[in-house]
Amino acid sequence: MDKKLQTGEGFKVITLVLIAFGLFTVLAGFFTGEGTRTWANLLLNNYYFLSVTIGATFWMALQAVTQSGWSSAYIRIPQAMSNYLIVSFVLWIFMFMGLHDLYHWTHVDAVQHDAILLHKAPYLNVPFLTIRFVLFFALWIFLTQRIKKLSAEEDKHGGLTYFNKIEFTSKAYIFVLAISFSLFTIDWLMSLDAHWYSTIYAVKKFIMSFYHGVTWIAAIAIILHKMGLLPMLNKSHLQDFGRYIFALSIIWGYMWLSQYLLIWYANIPEETVYYVPRIMSDYKNYFYGELIINWLFPFLFLMWNRVNSNMNAMLFVVAVLIIGHWVELYMSIMPNTIESHSITYIEVGTFLGFAALFVTVIVWSLARITLIPKNHPYYIESIEQH
């Protein structure tokens, strides 16, 4: 019952090589004069894995608040993923060195002659950005680590005390996330195009992070089950994960359409400025590809009930969605920064490096906690789910 995750030498070698490769591409990018592209890629990958972590921890908080029974056996997966927040904080500090390359509003002289940027200046300025950045990460790390600690205590002592405390902390975390992650998205992604206005952008990115957070949890649960560490995973659990991904793909598609259709219909220049470089250029294929990969494919594929109860089919869906997540962020960031749609070694290298680091952090954290929350009040309900 208390089996722990163990990794072979091969895993260590592969992840180390990939991380080194990522580091090498970043350095190579800076030294070959591709500074802006490298910063854009660093932003993309930092945001990518932060949003996966935020989504996964949001799922964890949601399970506690709704007192869900079926998921309680898998609650240790997002808890392990939450450790990445600390790594992400450290990595993100370097992003401050690239502010001038990415964000037009950080150029003080440019702002003086720009009515829109001047109007937004009380919010969009570097000191306030730094304060928000530190505050948000501090809150996220504090609350997730507290949930994790309480859950570990529950293993030792049992009872309902810790369960109630986790539920309360989760409520606080959801409130904090709703505001802080939206503002964080506005700060770091939406302000790439500071002249643009949108009220649904942050919501869409929040749904995106929830969506992809759940796909990662499902994939990790399936892989751990195949390694024999989570033996309770049955068809009903798989179906629940599948329904989660299916439902979130619809919500994501809904958000995509809400943003696009209203802007398209109203045809106001301040709003359409976002879509002009995305539709009327070579980015067109990515633009429609984003919708097909992230909505149409999971919608039609997961509609088929037999896919939900097939582990390999689910892993295939997750693999496709990992690419879909990248394409979505690529579409959000690149047209405003590098303005060319080519995919070079920098894109591939940084993504592989970050992915290897992310997986290493998860595996490192999973190996250090008991995978099965045996004193969770709903644990029995979870394993007997049918």
């Binding site: 359409l257 696009y260 259709l261 045809n267 509609m303 049918h386």
Partner: protein
């Protein structure tokens, strides 16, 4: 033959599920189960499959295509009126397509279900055991014409042994 089915009546769903296992272990083919509530696992034990989801999917696809065809015909072919500088064949179709796809899928699924179940508003209920709408559960086993008395006796004994409070023959016309 008037007595076409053997029926065992139970008072608890867990006993019923165990009884189904026991009967199937003895090669008795259960034809149907009546219950006031949905019981988890009965479908799997009975081996019943349904093609209703497939029908819904087909209705949905037909709905999407026909609604798009209608919109295309009205606003591009028959009456091409430009407004707001938008193209004729536009994305604004999506909302109507979305809503009507759900509508077509739901309505036709509902009609299909009623036709297949031979149901209509105001139909008299024909239940082999009327109390299965209140608090009792029933297992129904078909009495085939070639079945010998000894076999019937064996099934009846099995039903009693597995906890049925009553075992009886039913002459309610029941086909599925």
């Amino acid at each position: 033959m008037s007595n076409t089915n053997i029926i065992g009546i139970y008072e608890d769903e867990t006993i019923l599920l165990d009884a189904m296992d026991e009967l199937q272990k003895n090669d008795v083919k259960i034809k149907d189960v009546f219950s006031p509530i949905p019981i988890h696992g009965v479908f799997e034990k009975l081996g019943i499959t349904t093609r209703l989801p497939l029908a819904t999917f087909i209705y949905g696809v037909v709905g999407t295509i026909s609604v798009f065809a209608f919109l295309y015909w009205t606003s591009v072919v028959s009456y091409p009126l430009k407004f707001g500088g938008k193209p004729l064949n536009t994305l604004s179709f999506i909302i109507i397509m979305f809503v009507l796809t759900i509508f077509v899928g739901t309505l036709f699924t509902f009609l299909t279900y009623f036709i297949r179940e031979k149901m209509y508003p105001g139909k008299e209920v024909e239940l082999p055991v009327p109390t299965t709408t209140h608090d009792q559960f029933a297992i129904l086993i078909e009495k085939t014409p070639g079945m010998k008395d000894a076999e019937v006796k064996k099934i009846q004994d099995l039903l009693t042994k597995t906890g049925a409070i009553e075992v009886k023959d039913s002459d309610v016309e029941y086909d599925n």
